[in-house]
Amino acid sequence: MNTLGELERSVLEHLWAVAGPVTATQLRDELADRGLALTTVHTVLTRLEQKGFVTHDETRPRQFRARGTREEHVADLMHEVLGQAGDRQAALARFVGSVGDDEVRMLRELLAGAGDDPAR
């Protein structure tokens, strides 16, 4: 079963792997084991473009390439997650926020102190 999400993932994986511009026809042929129609490949590429993961040039036929590597996307996300931008932080709930070195030291002491406590 090819769900749209899975297709998007495999098309993007492929674009990352070839690291150069590819036409939709080439993509269909290279993903032949999935048995995709050309229109499906176009749909998936359009969706990926809307999400900002793929760009195309103006040659004929159009050639598509990935925008940014996987590592760059992950790094961007982590930058936002670890960053201090309050507005962005509201979008997700992080397990532990950023703390300073001083506080880390004190937290370790707290944990160690509780371990030594004979009452526990």
Partner: protein
């Protein structure tokens, strides 16, 4: 009747703009019962907005009638019928009307704006994660992100995602990872993002009001404590409290060093409070005190509502 209502509402608004949030954020009992404290904060926020807008509105409409619905109707119809107000309208009445409208629009507008903005950010994050990362073994809604820093977070919404970094799985033992996952799941199942959202919005809408800042920080810390409590309830194991506390410290240490030294008081930011109450839990709030807190929250909401509609009934 309306001038008295306006005065009473104004008094309540002043209390809720400064002394009440200050006292609530300094109090020690919220740590012992984060859920009751969260209910109180929601009531403070809602009643604060209601009373300040209500005070301005009732003062602004005072010349038009003896109760809010009557005065409102009079005010609306006088534009078409040209019926004069019952008493002369002074400049301060116009100012109060305008302020009420501006404030109401600003609060609701900023709330809607931050709703849209966080929804858009979440959608972007989710799209990225679904494309870049394969679902983890722990479940369809869990993603394992390849990154050395120990980080865990969840993206709330209709299709929530729970994200762990590979650094987290490497540095924590199995029981600790379970504790982290239970904590994040608690945020999702109790929809903590909805409790925090109005305070995020109102802090942005009212940057001059220190209470807005204080309320936001208190609510943010309380949902973390609440999630810790819920996580403890779903964990098994000999020393759940210590496991969760150790997980918090390990994650804080692994991701640490991003803030300059002294950015937080050494006596402890919110993370230290969490660790302390896990390691040395205070007795839970007695049920009498808990009910008193919940009833005060209800009363806080009822007072401005009754003040606004009462003159229409008597």
């Amino acid at each position: 009747m309306l001038p008295a209502t306006a005065l009473a509402l104004g008094l309540l608004a002043a209390l809720l703009a400064w002394p009440v949030p200050a006292a609530l954020s300094r109090a020690r009992w919220p740590q012992r019962d984060p859920l009751a404290a969260l209910v109180c904060w929601q009531a403070v926020g809602l009643a604060g907005g209601l009373s300040i807008i209500g005070a301005l509105l009732t003062h602004g409409l005072a010349p038009w009638g003896h109760s809010l619905p009557e005065a409102w109707w009079h005010w609306v119809t006088h534009w078409s019928t040209g019926a004069p107000p019952e008493e002369p309208v002074r400049g301060d009445h116009w100012v109060a009307q305008t302020l009420a409208a501006v404030l109401a629009l600003e609060l609701l507008g900023v709330l809607a704006l931050s709703l849209v903005r966080t929804a858009r950010t979440r959608r972007r994050h989710r799209a990225l994660l679904e494309l870049v990362v394969e679902p983890a073994a722990a479940g369809e809604d869990t993603r394992l992100l390849d990154h050395p820093a120990p980080v865990a977070f969840c993206i709330p919404g209709a299709r929530p995602l729970l994200v762990l970094s590979s650094g987290m799985v490497a540095e924590l033992d199995g029981a600790q990872v379970d504790a982290v996952v239970a904590h994040e799941r608690a945020h999702l199942t109790e929809h903590h993002h909805l409790l925090l959202l109005p305070f995020v919005a109102w802090r942005a809408a009212l940057p001059v009001l220190p209470a807005a800042d204080r309320a936001h920080d208190a609510v943010r810390d309380l949902v973390e404590m609440r999630a810790d409590d819920v996580a403890l309830g779903s964990l098994t194991g000999p020393d759940r409290r210590r496991t969760l506390a150790a997980a918090i410290v390990a994650v804080a240490a692994g991701a640490g060093g991003q803030l300059p030294d002294g950015a937080l008081a050494v006596t402890g930011g919110a993370v230290a409070v969490r660790v302390r109450r896990l390691l040395a839990p205070a007795a839970p709030l007695p049920s009498g005190a808990r009910w008193a807190a919940l009833l005060s929250a209800v009363a806080l909401l009822l007072v401005p509502t009754v003040l606004l509609v009462l003159p229409a009934l008597v």
